[in-house]
């Protein structure tokens, strides 16, 4: 009687041992990759939707495209703008004509030489309605771009032409001093005409892949990895020969895989692990501020949020420092202006009540609401929309708590990211959490409140003085003059309490401490070409 169970257990143990043994013999150990000095494994925030620079839409695709292509300008290891495919450039005095001198040693990864015509083809393809590029408007400062994109004008009408193989001339419809910055985005990258004409939409398949960046596409296994190989025809040699970008959606999984040495760099991990990481992975932990703005937006087209005193009272009752230091506790910086404080060369205009003590602010806010007709018997009731997730819930609950001190009753409504922003664009909300990440350019943020910008002005904010001042700024050809005009515009919007700036977000990364050439920067951009193992 007693023999059999023991026998069974022994047999089962044998089977398990064999299965494990065979699997470890037939496949390379997961830790082996760790020891190769020319391989880098990075976590990416999700699965890229495309690697076509003209069809891309996501930040996580920008990360990959930065390694695969090089535009006229590019980044250095610290995120500064430096010459890329162009070695120099000049601007006409009216700011409307930009002439780029290309490097003469440019080659595609298949060895074909890359000329100004390739850039002309690329800029035209971006605006071609058949490409259906969702970010075509990134380059709508080019002469005739909107009309070409609508199909009203032929591609040749676009403000781009080659003057010989190494000179590219861009003509703009309005001055755009941030052009060098805009050229960093994949929408301005060259694409291989010879490959696209041969393979059509299949040019993006690994087998047909041709690009001009430090790396080429070796393999794309959806949901598993995008594998890149060093491009032998790039302008300079690189140290890392093989790069794997693994889509890791689950932050906890990213954290575990980093601890288990399966990944060398991860872009984010759960806030709850921050304490553990500080203690155990201190030499890997990199916290940095991201150029971004998280804010609350009032729907100014629906009462009572069309009334300035109501918006002002709600704004004054929010203590940004509590949100960052006590609620989020993950290195986010409190924000008091709509344009991020991290912008270079621009001094943002702060909310008028920034330096007033919180108790005093609450008293003023209560008075404002009382004057607007709200009382204990007839309190202000509102709905606050936010994106689902732990951080979103914590922040918005805290805000509801702050408003409760004014007697305001808040109902929280949450939805997934896509649904949330769809509702916001339709103006289907009262007060909502929103966020904007992006360029080192105050206009990028301030135009969100321009009355004719479209659905992205979620709260349908309308202020004729503000619109007029933005137009003044957009007519300036120098960045300094433009920023000065933008400051005046920001003062208007801050005093109108159209939005409540909350905080700029931070990036929690873990980077293998042996990796060299990794520098934190506000754009959170890290091209692999600058990295190396000791």
């Amino acid at each position: 009687m007693k023999r059999s169970p023991a026998l069974l257990v022994r047999k089962l143990t044998c089977v398990c041992a064999i299965v494990l043994g065979v699997s470890s013999m037939t496949s390379p150990s997961f830790a082996d990759t760790q020891t190769k000095s020319s391989v880098l494994r990075l976590a990416n925030a999700g699965e890229p939707e495309t690697l076509d620079p003209h069809r891309y839409n996501l930040r996580l695709e920008e990360t990959l495209l930065n390694d695969l292509f090089m535009g006229l300008t590019t980044f250095d290891a610290r995120g500064n703008i430096v010459p890329g495919a162009a070695k120099s450039w000049s601007t006409s005095s009216d700011g409307l004509t930009w002439t780029f001198k290309l490097r003469t040693d440019l080659k595609w990864s298949d060895g074909q030489s890359l000329t100004a015509d390739d850039f002309v083809f690329a800029f035209q393809r971006l605006q071609n309605p058949d490409t259906a590029a969702s970010l075509a408007y990134f380059m709508d400062m080019l002469d005739n771009a909107p009309a070409v994109n609508r199909g009203d004008l032929p591609l040749e009408a676009l403000g781009v032409r080659a003057d010989g193989p190494h000179t590219l001339i861009l003509t703009l419809s309005r001055p755009y001093p941030y052009l060098l910055e805009r050229l960093l985005y994949p929408t301005a990258y060259p694409v291989p005409r010879h490959s696209i004409e041969r393979h059509g939409d299949a040019w993006v398949k690994a087998a047909n892949w041709v690009s001009n960046g430090a790396y080429t596409l070796r393999e794309w296994q959806p949901q598993a990895h995008v594998a890149l190989l060093a491009n032998p025809h790039f302008i300079e040699p690189v140290a890392i020969q093989e790069v794997y970008y693994h889509p890791v959606v689950n932050e906890q999984s990213a954290y575990n895989r980093f601890r288990n040495k399966e990944l060398h760099v991860i872009g984010s991990f759960p806030v709850g692990e921050l304490g553990h990481a500080r203690e155990r992975l201190a030499d890997s932990l990199r916290l940095s501020d991201l150029l971004s703005m998280m804010y609350l937006v009032f729907n100014t087209s629906t009462p009572p949020f069309d009334k300035l005193p109501v918006r002002q009272a709600l704004s004054m009752a929010i203590d940004q420092r509590i949100l960052t230091d006590q609620v989020l506790r993950s290195g986010n910086k409190p924000a008091f202006s709509f344009a991020p404080a991290l912008l270079e060369g621009y001094e943002p205009v702060q909310l008028p009540h920034t330096d007033i003590a919180y108790a005093e602010r609450l008293a003023t806010a209560r008075q404002l609401l009382a004057d607007a007709g709200y009382s204990k018997a007839a309190p202000l009731r509102l709905e606050l929309r936010h994106v689902s997730g732990i951080d979103g819930k914590k922040v918005n609950l805290a805000i509801a708590g702050m408003w409760q001190q004014l007697g305001v009753q808040t109902v929280l409504q949450q939805a997934d990211l896509r649904n949330h922003f769809a509702q916001l664009r339709q103006g289907n909300f009262q007060v909502a959490w929103a966020g904007w990440v992006g360029e080192n350019n105050p206009e990028h943020y301030l135009t969100l409140l321009q009355s004719d910008i479209g659905s992205v002005n979620y709260g349908r904010f309308e202020h004729s003085d503000y619109d007029a001042q933005l137009k003044v700024a957009q007519a300036q050809t120098s960045i300094a003059a433009r920023n000065q005009a933008l400051q005046i515009a920001e003062a208007i919007v801050v005093n109108a309490y159209a939005v409540v700036p909350l905080y700029s977000t931070s990036v929690r990364r873990l980077v293998d401490p042996r990796l060299q050439g990794w520098f934190e920067n506000g754009r959170d951009i890290h091209q692999v070409r600058y990295l190396s193992w000791p």
């Binding site: 009687m1 023999r3 059999s4 169970p5 026998l7 257990v9 047999k11 089962l12 089977v15 299965v19 494990l20 699997s23 470890s24 037939t26 496949s27 150990s29 997961f30 830790a31 939707e49 495309t50 690697l51 076509d52 069809r55 839409n57 259906a132 590029a133 969702s134 075509a136 408007y137 994109n149 609508r150 993006v204 398949k205 794309w220 296994q221 959806p222 949901q223 598993a224 693994h246 889509p247 890791v248 959606v249 689950n250 999984s253 575990n256 895989r257 601890r259 288990n260 399966e262 939805a415 997934d416 990211l417 896509r418 649904n419 922003f421 769809a422 664009r425 904007w436 479209g454 659905s455």
Partner: protein, 305 residues
């Protein structure tokens, strides 16, 4: 039998059509579209995109177009994974899901049978009670809890196995165990009951009286009887393991079609979600159809009904 076969197949096909149609319209009723993101889309550009994917057509026309393409085996282009067609994505992801499902099925049957037999040898004993208690825990604790616990123990603390990702068979060990646990427990329960019943059968008592060894009695005389309920359990289990991998694939970053399903739904990738639904529903319906047919084959009373 031909009439029965025709009827069953017809109902399976009708169910398939209902499922595909329901998912088609439900997806489009969900707020937010495939081209909504954090960044703004000017109206002209949105119009270009909508036209490129036929989203500007009336819903009825889109539905007819989808069914027409489906009849030709064309699942369409993925809305979000613009560089792949849905068929390509499924062809890339299905092997992972099938390998995961099969490994889990093997673990569930082997471990479940072993534990079931061990527990049935002396019903009510300490061994039986502790095994069955462990069993109840395996059934009650969801995968979303067991999977991270397995990762913590075997990947993070012991560093024997990878915490996630793919690329080698080792990457499948923890996910397959996590997926198999509740099914193994169910199999164990089934086998234990059937074995206890089989022990009371007269031919088993005869075998014992003849002085055959315990191992031989179990193998030759008890297991064949106890395996009958297991076989009918395998149909739905195989379907369950294939479709149940959605959570496990998410937790372990495995590139199977379950992960496409979740990512596709969040991204409102209509065609990708539809494609996975087509695969899942055909798998479930085929398994059920096979079981139905097998029953009909075995039991003429069902055929007549």
């Amino acid at each position: 039998m031909a009439g029965y076969l025709f009827k069953r197949t017809f109902f399976a096909f009708a169910t398939f059509l209902v499922v595909v149609s329901a998912v088609f319209f439900l997806l489009r009723a969900a707020p937010g579209g495939p081209f909504d993101g954090e960044r703004r889309l000017p109206p002209d550009i949105e119009a270009n995109l909508q036209a490129a994917y036929h989203l500007d057509e009336p819903l009825a026309q889109q539905y007819a177009r989808y069914l027409g393409n489906l009849a030709q085996g064309d699942l369409g282009p993925s809305f979000r994974q613009k560089d792949f067609s849905v068929s390509e994505l499924i062809a890339l992801g299905l092997p992972t899901s099938v390998l995961l499902g099969l490994s889990a099925l093997a673990i569930a049957v082997l471990v479940g049978t072993g534990v079931g037999i061990a527990a049935s040898l002396s019903p009510g004993s300490g061994m039986d009670r502790s095994l069955m208690a462990l069993n109840n825990v395996s059934i009650a604790v969801p995968t979303i809890v067991t999977a991270p616990a397995l990762v913590l123990l075997f990947a993070v603390i012991l560093t024997w196995l990878p915490a996630g990702g793919s690329g080698s068979l080792q990457h499948f060990v923890l996910p397959a165990i996590a997926l198999a646990l509740p099914y193994a427990a169910a199999v164990a329960r089934l086998i234990r009951g059937a074995m206890i019943e089989a022990a009371a059968e007269t031919h088993v008592l005869t075998a014992r009286a003849k002085g055959l060894s315990q191992a031989r009695i179990i193998r030759r005389h008890m297991l064949p009887i106890a395996a009958v309920p297991l076989i009918s359990f395998l149909g739905p289990t195989a379907a369950g393991l294939l479709t149940g991998s959605v959570v496990v694939e998410q937790i372990f970053d495995l590139p199977g079609i379950g992960r496409y399903f979740v990512q596709g739904a969040l991204a409102r990738d209509y065609t990708l979600v539809m494609g996975v639904v087509v695969v899942y529903s055909s798998a479930i319906l085929s398994f059920n159809l096979l079981v139905d047919l097998a029953y009909g084959w075995l039991d003429p009373r069902i055929r007549a009904a």
